[in-house]
């Protein structure tokens, strides 16, 4: 009897979230798919024709193809590098006695900085006429602004990756540091008293304990760096550009016939990220069981 009452109460608690996410998120996702199939055409005099043409158009689009490689490269490198660096920094901070609280505050400093500001900072610092180029010119390492390598608005995506690293390393640090300050501290202390070496404790106690936090962090960072718009728009090239930038370009194109293609690209992107995250979760679940 009591369980039933509780269950009913839970329904009221989740109802607002369910309403918001169903109406806006699920609704938006489904309406995107419908529009990619040709429903709700914005071209008034055209008869509604339901087809998979938009999906074919996505795969035939040269800009999209170039964008896919860039997007994967940026997302993978940003995720791997930010995870490894954040893990190293967090472990070092947790072992540092002096300045520990100062260092923790510094890891948090970037978290509330908007991505647009992060991209601006990277741009003003690393562009050919940026601060690093001036310094390198001053000390005779490179000559003039054109002698400095192009690492912002570049075809490889260095600028985009740097901007993501600048924002996501602190994000991962906060996740890992808060996991490190949980109950694992007592376990670690006990093992230390019993004479376990740091590398042994790291492998057997600390890493297994913070593994879930790292896992969640990598998923959030990967999905974000794969689908975000602002940073690749500001720090990327017009061509090739990441899929989100291409999707937005297609959506706002003067030629309204491109809208279903934009929707198809957005749908494919969402499904690909979803599948990758799902595969990653399955893989790491098995790893966790070992």
């Amino acid at each position: 009897m009591k369980r039933k009452v509780r269950e009913r109460k839970a329904i009221w608690l989740i109802l607002p979230t369910v309403l918001v996410l169903t109406a806006l998120f699920v609704g938006g996702f489904l309406f995107g798919i419908l529009q990619s199939l040709g429903f709700f055409s914005v071209i008034a005099d055209e008869k509604q024709r339901i087809s998979l043409d938009a999906y074919l158009a996505v795969f035939q689009n040269e800009t999209v193809r170039a964008g896919i490689i860039l997007t994967f490269r940026v997302a993978l490198l940003s995720t791997i590098l930010s995870t490894v660096i954040a893990l190293a920094i967090s472990l070092m901070i947790s072992r540092t006695k002096r300045f520990q609280s100062v260092l923790i505050s510094i890891t948090q400093f970037n978290i509330p900085i908007p991505h647009v500001v992060a991209a601006t900072g990277i741009l003003l610092t690393f562009s050919q006429s940026g601060l690093v180029s001036r310094l390198s010119n001053h000390f005779g390492v490179t000559e003039g602004s054109s002698g400095f390598p192009i690492i912002t608005n570049d075809p490889f995506g260095y600028g985009i990756i740097m901007s993501y690293l600048w924002k996501e390393i602190p994000f991962m640090c906060v996740l890992i540091l808060s996991a490190l300050r949980g109950p694992v501290t007592n376990l670690d202390e006990t093992a230390k008293t019993l004479g376990a070496s740091y590398s042994y404790r790291l492998r057997k106690i600390i890493l297994p304990y913070i593994f879930p936090a790292i896992l969640s962090g990598t998923i959030i960072v990967f999905a974000f760096s794969f689908g975000s718009y602002e940073v690749p728009y500001l720090l990327g090239e017009p061509y090739p550009s990441t899929v989100s930038v291409v999707a937005y370009q297609l959506y706002t194109d003067r030629d309204l016939a491109n809208r279903p293609t934009a929707m198809a690209l957005a749908t494919i992107t969402s499904v690909v990220i979803g599948l990758l995250v799902y595969a990653y979760m399955l893989l790491t679940k098995q790893e966790g069981r070992k």
């Binding site: 509780r6 608690l13 989740i14 979230t17 369910v18 918001v20 996410l21 169903t22 806006l24 998120f25 699920v26 938006g28 996702f29 309406f31 995107g32 798919i33 660096i85 190293a88 920094i89 070092m92 901070i93 260092l103 510094i106 948090q108 970037n110 978290i111 509330p112 900085i113 908007p114 647009v116 500001v117 992060a118 601006t120 900072g121 003003l124 610092t125 001036r134 310094l135 001053h138 003039g144 600048w166 390393i169 906060v174 996740l175 808060s178 996991a179 300050r181 879930p212 936090a213 896992l215 969640s216 962090g217 998923i219 959030i220 999905a223 937005y248 957005a266 992107t269 990220i273 979803g274």
Partner: protein
């Protein structure tokens, strides 16, 4: 070797965190800054004069952004906290499915979803309006609050509430005097995340608000397309001050013994 390595690495990290601010700060007070010069020849307060002009784009952007982010912060925190409590403390049908629904917006790009829903926003008069922008901002913010608050409520002992009830306190009194004070750190961090995400959001605002709702990111983007880097610098500084002030008041709850971010770690 080993002793030097850690301070060196951490020192590099600290440098990396603050270095990009340096160019922003210098540009914001520069009266032009030609290429080979390490520092500007002349300084000027023009960037900040333009920024704080009461009729200027930036101050209007600050007002619009503040209203939107405050409303989104309060709404998302209220909506998501209830769901966080349900996940942490109750068993109910389709719980797994509900958790999936909450996680999905953290994975699927907001751009994809908003492009799909724009047609409905136009139809129901929500496009080009602040109401529409606020609704769109709930998509990325509510899931964060749910995750953070489910972590907070996971450490919550229901016995405190039951004691209050036994002693005759009304439901509202229990909520106000017992529950809310205990979960306040989680609420603060939730509000921080929701406010900051809304404050920084560009593409959702652009899609839904069009040219009608000019938040601060819109203004900064417009400046970035131009060539006046002094304005870009000053606008960037104005843009990051409010989130940093908010962080100042919530930072002690971010990483700590009873951290509120742990909920995010259970994705």
């Amino acid at each position: 070797m080993k002793i030097i390595f850690r301070p060196l690495f951490l020192g590099l990290f600290v440098f990396w965190v603050f270095f990009p601010f340096l160019s922003i700060i210098i540009w914001s007070v520069a009266a032009g800054w030609r290429f080979p010069d390490l520092l500007p020849e002349q300084y000027s307060a023009r960037g900040y004069q333009v920024s704080f002009d009461p009729d200027g784009d930036i101050i209007r952007g600050v007002i619009t952004s503040t209203i939107i982010a405050l409303v989104v912060g309060v709404l998302a925190t209220a909506i998501g906290s209830a769901a966080g409590r349900a996940i942490a403390m109750y068993n109910f049908k389709m719980k797994k499915f509900f958790q999936f629904l909450v996680l999905a917006p953290l994975i699927v790009p907001g751009l994809a979803v908003t492009m799909g829903i724009q047609i409905l926003f136009i139809k129901y008069g929500l496009a080009d309006s602040m109401r529409g922008v606020i609704l769109a901002h709930l998509i990325p913010t509510v899931p964060y609050v749910v995750m953070i608050m489910s972590g907070t409520f996971a450490n919550f002992d229901r016995a405190y509430e039951e004691q209050g009830q036994v002693l005759g306190a009304s439901r509202l009194t229990v909520l106000r005097k017992i529950t809310l004070p205990i979960v306040l750190p989680g609420l603060a961090v939730s509000f921080l995340f929701a406010f900051v995400i809304s404050w920084s959001e560009y593409i959702l605002t652009l899609l839904v608000g069009g040219a009608a709702v000019k938040t601060l990111p819109m203004v900064l983007f417009a400046y970035l397309r131009g060539s006046d880097l002094t304005l870009v610098g000053a606008a960037s500084i104005v843009f990051m001050i409010p989130p940093l002030i908010l962080l100042r008041f919530t930072s002690k709850h971010l990483v700590g013994r009873s951290s509120s971010v742990t909920g995010l770690g259970s994705v």
